[in-house]
Amino acid sequence: MSARVAVVYFPGSNCEHDVAAAVKSLGAEAEIVWHTRSELDGFNAVIIPGGFAHGDHIRPGAIAQFSPVMGPIATAAAEGYPVLGICNGFQVLVETGLLPGALMRNDGLRFLCEMVTCEVVSTSSVLTSGSTPGEKLALPINHYEGNYTCDQETLAQLVKNGQVVLRYCDNPNGSTGSVAGVRNLAGNVVGLMPHPERAMEALLGSRDGRGLLAAFVGAATQLAPARFEAA
């Protein structure tokens, strides 16, 4: 089965074309879909790209959680389909409650736009199943509110359950436990602050995002494209 990825965009998203180009370069089909859609039909994966959905008003992701398209996305997540949130998409997934924790302003209140080194922690997720634990990846970050925050009890649970998928080697933003990416319990929903879609070619500074997105696309091909509506 081929992968058919819905790349969902909101007013203020700005990475949807990069994400679509990245997954297409891996042989998947990608369609950019608007946030007012109340159904997603014929897809076997969803990616929420980066940007500033609804202008980040109130908090990043706070308003996006009420966009109609979040209904079918929650259904796809519950049915085990791969769902990925990158940067602002990660913020949307935590605000929606599909992933644990929250993303606060960076420690030091600096907008960070740089290449960072991340370490793969858990490989039991749709994003990291093709990686090896401890593998180092060069990935770009580009955010002001990427400081992953949760209480110590939650962090201990995440670590115990293998829900931390990526960790910063040199914590740039104050994230609790240096967390750069987390997954849900089932492993099919993943959010991360770094941008794998911007690390697809050596010419762009790194191609370490390829393996991550290739694993994600590969997970999609295991499932038949389906129609999703709000539960």
Binding site: A62, G101, M104, R105, N147, T149
Partner: protein, 83 residues
Amino acid sequence: MKFSVHVEVRGLPGIADPEGRTIERALPALGFSGVSSVRVGKVIAFDLEATDEGAARAAAEEMCARLLSNPVIQRAEVSIHSS
């Protein structure tokens, strides 16, 4: 009845407050010493039509839980005055 609602959103105790910490580090540079425990929050004020104060409070608290604050990292305090 019309009520004026005042919501104060603050970080939960124990949750890092990067903005508060930056202010705390900046104040001594201006000559203000002895400042500690700076916490930064947000105030949201609006008018609300409701049958009575209890209904206004219940509605405002639900707004806080679902949109105005993120309960994972913040707590919201609601105060209500008839206007």
